[in-house]
């Protein structure tokens, strides 16, 4: 009984408060998302990633850094070592489990750096217009004209290898699409009545952009960020594979594939497991991103 009243409260056409309207919209989006089985699968994978990263110490059976060089080098998968062991005698399963933390670290940091930068540049360009818009968008286009991995490579080459520098390089190459989206959204609301009303009330441009335009752009930027997560993970893994990301002995998945490359023809499992992990997590983000896009913007759905 209380279940139905809750739903009525959420789905009411005349919400009594701002938070009720917001919750109602969130609930509707969630229902659309929950109808999409693939999106739920994606969500499950991402939650799985969070759980594995959170409880890595419990889930890992052995140390991810120190191996048994004498007894356990390059063993095939078995009951004791589920994914086998690598050339340092380390348990690959434990390394993959701990590697989830590094992946999460990279993804979250890139999103936290790149999304606000793109949001700020896009909304300022869209609201200010004129030469500010022209200059900012030209810079955005220049960054978009670069192939992303190559630009990240060049930046890491100058900054020096390491996981922090990889994060910086990926963030530098990630913000332009967010700026484009935020600008497009800003242009659609810029001349709307509510913005004019706020301006007449004497709000400063800073306040208008920060309090009234940015929130309008957030949901589309979030969708785009989710869709980009897979790309970020793949770029980070690519940098790791080329030896420019996380440095040994850190159990970064891309770097693990690189170390398994030398004996892949005979001991394929060393490279197989971390690659599978990258694939699964990217797939999860792609499925969730597609679902979010359809749920938050039903018009674009079904394509």
């Amino acid at each position: 009984m209380s279940d139905t009243t809750w739903r009525q409260w959420l789905l009411t056409e005349r919400p009594q408060s701002r938070s009720q309207a917001r919750l109602g919209r969130t609930y509707q989006a969630w229902r659309r998302l929950a109808d999409n089985r693939l999106a739920l699968l994606g969500l499950t994978i991402i939650i799985g990633l969070l759980v594995v990263a959170g409880f890595a110490d419990v889930l890992a059976t052995q140390s991810p850094i120190v191996g048994d060089l004498r007894e356990a080098r390059l063993l095939p998968p078995s009951a004791e070592h589920w994914f086998g062991t690598d050339d340092q005698g380390r348990d690959i399963y434990s390394r993959v489990v701990h590697g989830s933390r590094l992946t999460l670290f990279v993804v979250i940091l890139v999103a936290v750096i790149a999304a606000p930068v793109g949001l700020l540049i896009g909304t300022v360009a869209g609201y200010a217009g004129g030469w500010v818009d022209a200059v900012l968008m030209r810079i955005t286009d220049i960054f978009l004209a670069f192939p992303r991995l190559i630009l990240a490579l060049a930046f890491v080459a100058a900054l020096g290898p390491g996981i922090e520098n990889a994060v910086i390089a990926i963030a530098i190459t990630s913000w332009p699409p967010y700026a484009r989206i935020a600008r497009a959204e800003t242009l659609t609301v810029r001349h709307s009545d509510y913005i004019n009303a706020i301006r007449l009330m004497g709000a400063s441009p800073t306040r208008i952009v920060a309090r009234h335009i940015m929130p309008m752009c957030v949901s589309s930027v979030i969708v785009r960020v989710t869709l980009d997560m897979a790309g970020i993970i793949l770029t980070a893994a690519g940098l790791g594979f080329l030896g420019l990301g996380a440095q040994p002995p850190l159990p970064e998945w891309g770097a693990m594939i690189a170390s398994g490359r030398r004996f892949v023809l005979d001991q394929w499992w060393v490279a197989a497991a971390p690659g599978m992990a990258i694939f699964l997590v990217s797939l999860g983000f792609n499925l969730l991103g597609d679902g979010l896009r359809d749920a938050l913007d039903p018009k674009a759905g079904g394509r």
Binding site: I150, A158, G275
Partner: protein, 356 residues
């Protein structure tokens, strides 16, 4: 044309038509120049501004004082930064990227030597992707929700999610080590390496032109796996976009009209709808080609393919910044060029874009 002949003011309407075209071409050129300049600004920034001292990176920290001083002078580092940038742009425009520390050749000579290998790989990859991807996308759109549609969806999802270098390694394990269907890493067996005299640098063409069919088949068996791998990624993108464009075309009124006229379904799909869908597809193919040039960095590393991508990664690992930045500028310029080409082709193929 017939209309202008009848029109007494033909000359005026002619100039009226030409002027906007000239204006848009001028705008186009300015944008291209600005983008290229921006590209160089970024690489200049990476090469000269980020490193604490570019001289140290070249001579090492044990060099005597006068060597450091002379290198600084030679690099022009004592001049103001904007002057350095102008000099840098001038040099790049003449094809001078400096000398590679690793190979001791001018970087441009190196790039000219390795570029054909990348071109060969990316071109074959795009061919595979388009020739399979377009029909697949068409069938998926025609039988929406059917088996092929699901397959296209899965191909796309996997293509967007799988790390290309890992898939390459696993393909090597299966098709080279286990099944022995293809040759392993490298471009050609070492036996043939010295009997070949390069003409175009594209081995398939060179060997075929010289009638060395042994070498041709050997080169092909080396090429086919990395090219199929790149082809898969291009296929994932192209088939998905073809499907979406075809769905759009098939819902247009002219399709209804063609059906009402009694045209066969095959004719409607392949002759009418696909023809219109091909216009935006040109852009997609150009973009995917550019994407393959980028993907080649990782693929070439996995397959020890001696192209631009492997050149860049080798230089990276040896901190050879001139070579890295030279390769970056070349790939960036090709990227921009392909984008422009697709824009131009779009305008050429779709008359509607010309009017506005």
């Amino acid at each position: 044309m017939a209309q202008t002949a009848v029109d007494p003011q033909g000359g005026r309407s002619g100039t009226r038509r030409i002027l906007p075209v000239l204006a848009s071409i001028a705008r186009f050129v300015v944008i291209v120049a600005l983008t290229l300049l921006g590209l160089l600004a970024v690489t200049f920034f990476i090469g000269r501004v980020i490193p604490v001292d570019p001289v140290l990176a070249i001579v090492g920290d044990r060099a005597p004082e006068h060597v450091i001083e002379r290198t600084r002078e030679e690099l022009g580092l004592n001049r103001p930064i904007y002057e350095q940038f102008v000099i840098y742009v001038g040099k790049v425009l003449q094809g001078d990227f400096g000398t590679s520390v690793l190979t001791a050749n001018p970087v441009m000579t190196d790039i000219r030597r390795v570029f054909p290998a990348t071109l060969e790989l990316a071109t074959l990859g795009t061919l595979i992707g388009s020739l399979i991807g377009i029909p697949l996308g068409v069938f998926a759109a025609v039988r929406r929700g059917g088996l092929l549609d699901q397959i296209v969806r899965i191909i796309g999802l996997v293509g967007y999610s799988v790390p290309i270098f890992w898939l390459g390694l696993m393909a090597l394990v299966v098709f080279y080590a286990r099944l022995g269907w293809v040759a392993g890493p490298g471009r050609i067996d070492i036996v043939y390496e010295y009997t070949l005299s390069p003409v175009t640098g594209i081995l398939l063409l060179d060997t075929a032109m010289q009638g060395q069919w042994d070498a041709f088949w050997n080169a092909l068996s080396h090429l086919i796996l990395p090219a199929s791998l790149l082809g898969y990624f291009s296929l994932a993108y192209i088939s998905r976009m073809t499907r979406s464009f075809m769905l759009n075309e098939l819902s247009q009124e002219y399709v209804v009209a063609a059906r009402a006229k009694g045209l066969s379904e095959a004719r409607i799909i392949w002759r009418h709808a696909l023809r219109n869908a091909l216009v935006p597809l040109v852009t997609v193919i150009a973009l995917s080609y550019a994407g393959l040039l980028e993907g080649s960095v990782l693929t070439e590393t996995v397959f020890a393919w001696p192209g631009l991508g492997l050149y860049i990664t080798n230089s990276l690992q040896n901190a050879d910044m001139n070579a890295v930045l030279g390769g970056t500028v070349v790939i960036g310029a090709v990227f921009i060029g392909l984008n422009l080409l697709s824009d131009l082709l779009y305008g050429l193929l779709d008359p509607r874009t010309r009017r506005s």
